[in-house]
């Protein structure tokens, strides 16, 4: 099932094992407890906006953070499909998962794959315990889609590296512990060469985190200024000069998961709650049905990518396809919900009420098709995959 033998429109079909069914039941029971505790509020975009380290730790106690990591590093040794079951349940419920999100999705698998034994032994058990939270240090002011043009530099010192530059749109840098920073270590004719990844302690001297407010006023993003930061040798992640390959390898994990089609799902749940109070018209039911069919279809594709990852493939083209479809649905969902039940969006309405959730999802919606690679770039990847096929 390598990308070269898998047509871009053919995804493996998936049948979840019985163990996944049991797991789903356990997660639902856990979510019921957390609802009773008042932590799970059915909010959209909870993987960006729902920061609750206590929740992350309780989730970790169940073995549901870093669950695809091997047991010898503190993980649960379960597959991507099972991880998918857990996170889709969490996102559908709008649970606050942003604290451990990047550690669980990207940093863990990346350190497992590229890290030294020492790095694995240090970071992975902490990640799996929900006690070590990561940010992504990729984008910069002049490096968005053109990531290989990053200007952050890492200069060799006697016993490590000296980092200078500024990372932008860094989610959670003001509350997290580490960032995986992509920096230029060597000048090269091919701009994809000479890049390397570093694990940077966000509390190290020389790191200055400056808030960047979202248009909603929320503080999620930051500019992370690296004003000369000493990074020890042991914090180079993977090979010197191997940064580009490592970063693109992360993308299949980053692009195809349930967070790419479920960000606005709690708003659809809220709509159904509203429609139950009156009796839905045929036209309203039709629109709900069309949204539901599309959600169901995209979910099947996303599970197909998880199955391919479990089988050891790197389905980059398929992941790009899922992300474009899924995030476009997220945006369309917000607009369709608005037209099904015309409601003025109001961010000051009672928290959790339909007008408030609509305002929240709407203000977040332009980001859905930007983060993790803009959809225009993804569509280029999809057609390229076709030529290679």
């Amino acid at each position: 099932m390598s990308p070269s033998t898998l047509s871009p429109i053919a995804f493996p079909d998936v049948a979840l094992p019985e163990s996944a069914r049991r797991l789903r039941t356990e997660v639902r029971a856990f979510l019921d407890e957390e609802r009773a505790r008042g932590t799970v509020l059915g909010r959209p975009d909870s993987w960006l906006a729902g920061w609750d380290p206590g929740f992350s730790r309780r989730l970790a106690e169940r073995g549901w953070v870093g669950m695809a990591l091997p047991t010898e590093y503190g993980g649960a040794g379960r597959g991507f499909l099972e991880r998918c079951v857990v996170i889709e349940e969490l996102l559908a419920a709008g649970a606050p998962v942003s604290a451990h999100w990047v550690s669980d999705r990207q940093a863990g698998p990346s350190i497992l794959q590229h890290g030294t034994e020492e790095q694995r032994r240090f970071f992975l058990p902490r990640i799996a315990a929900g006690q070590c939270f990561f940010s992504i240090g990729m984008s910069e002011k002049n490096s968005g889609s053109d990531l290989a043009s990053v200007a952050t530099r890492a200069e060799r010192t006697a016993d490590g590296w000296w980092l200078t530059g500024t990372k932008m749109w860094t989610g959670g840098a003001h509350v997290n512990d580490y960032a995986i920073v992509l920096a230029r270590t060597d000048d090269a004719e091919d701009k994809h060469a000479g890049l390397s990844q570093f694990v940077v302690d966000l509390r190290a001297p020389g790191v200055r985190v400056e808030p960047i407010r979202l248009m909603s006023g929320e503080h999620r993003f930051n500019a992370v200024h690296l004003d000369g930061v000493d990074v020890p040798d042991g914090m180079l992640l993977g090979e010197r000069g191997g940064g580009w390959k490592q970063v693109t390898g992360e993308l299949a994990f980053e692009r195809s998961g349930p967070e790419r089609y479920l960000s606005a799902f709690p708003l659809l749940v809220s709509l159904l709650r509203e429609l139950e109070r009156r009796s839905a018209t045929a036209e309203q039911l039709t629109q709900v049905g069309i949204l539901t069919a599309r959600l169901h279809s995209i979910r099947r594709l996303s599970l197909g990518v998880a199955a391919a990852l479990d089988a050891g493939a790197s389905p980059d083209t398929h992941a790009a396809l899922v992300k474009d479809l899924g995030t476009r649905l997220e945006v369309a969902l917000v607009d369709t919900v608005r037209s099904i039940l015309p409601t003025p969006a109001d961010q000051y309405a009672t928290p959790g009420s339909h007008p408030e959730l609509l305002a929240f999802a709407l203000l977040h919606s332009p980001g859905y098709t930007l983060r993790g690679g803009t959809n225009e770039i993804l569509r280029g990847i999809i057609t390229r995959g076709l030529e290679q096929h």
Binding site: I9, A93, T292, R294, S297, L321, L378
Partner: protein
Amino acid sequence: MNTHTIDTNAPVISADAYDTTAFYADADAVPTVTNTTAPEAVALPSPGASTAQLLAAAQEAGRRAVPAPLAETALVARPLLRRAGLPVPDGPLSYAIAPELTIRYAHPAASPVGSAGCLGDDNTLLVTGTLRRVPWARAATAVVVLATAPFGPVLFTLTPDQAVLTPGANLAEEPRDDLHLATLEIPAFHVRRIAPELLDEARLRAALARSALIAGAAERCVDLTVAHTTARTQFGRPLSRFQAVKQEEARLIEEAALVRAVVQAAAVPLDIGGPAAHFAIAAAKTQASASAAEIARIAHQLHGAIGITRLNPLHLATTRLWSWRDEDGDEAYWAPRLAQPLTATTLWPALTTTP
């Protein structure tokens, strides 16, 4: 260089023991047959084939625009006959779901209540009415009809020559014939009383068969469009090198993948039946019908002028998409039926029922 050929180089699936030539309709009766290079054989799956295999065959039939009721026979008529306990005739079969037919018993019981013919000594029926737009009726060896008799739902078979046939066709020139039945006697051995659930199952089977055909036609649109944008050169480079073309082509691929996935996902639920089958198949036909417009739009736009002519096979796929999305329930029929049972608390469990 742009060559105006019709051959699509589609590999032919070798027919197994089944004689596919006998399965095709009379070429003269089907105008589109002359527009394909050759009716490409898709083996009719054996009776023991799994639902997933049947869906794959139906999809392949849709991709190749097979001029025969393969999906109708394999996924709808044959399984319904088996479920009703009737023998399965050889050859192409069709179906009609027609609760509006007027049905009486031919051998009325002497009954103290009710009108004449509402109770029968046996199941021999007298049937009056019109079966509208029956797929491939003129080519079928038998048509399976599901209807409502005075004492509940029945399934019976008839042969097209028992009816007066008014020929008709869909946008792809596939036969869609009306069959007029005037007090037609259906002998008891061709009739079975059925549970109401089988009537529901018939609607679901027909919708899923049609969805699989749509998935295949969508795939054909992708194949043809990619071949065209790779071969066709303008401004000194292939169309596929233009960013604007790539953006559209990617959306086409995505939409085709989406339909294929939702059809695949319905195989297991169809076997399980009940609410799981209803959800998966209502979603499949809703999505397949809703995606048809975008798939056909992009495929045509990227083909340019040749695509709207019969010099190119694209029309074989797009005209089918435009007809199939309406047949066996369009998205306006299935979407509200998909949404009806859903509430704020059951939506997510419904999405995650199977697997």
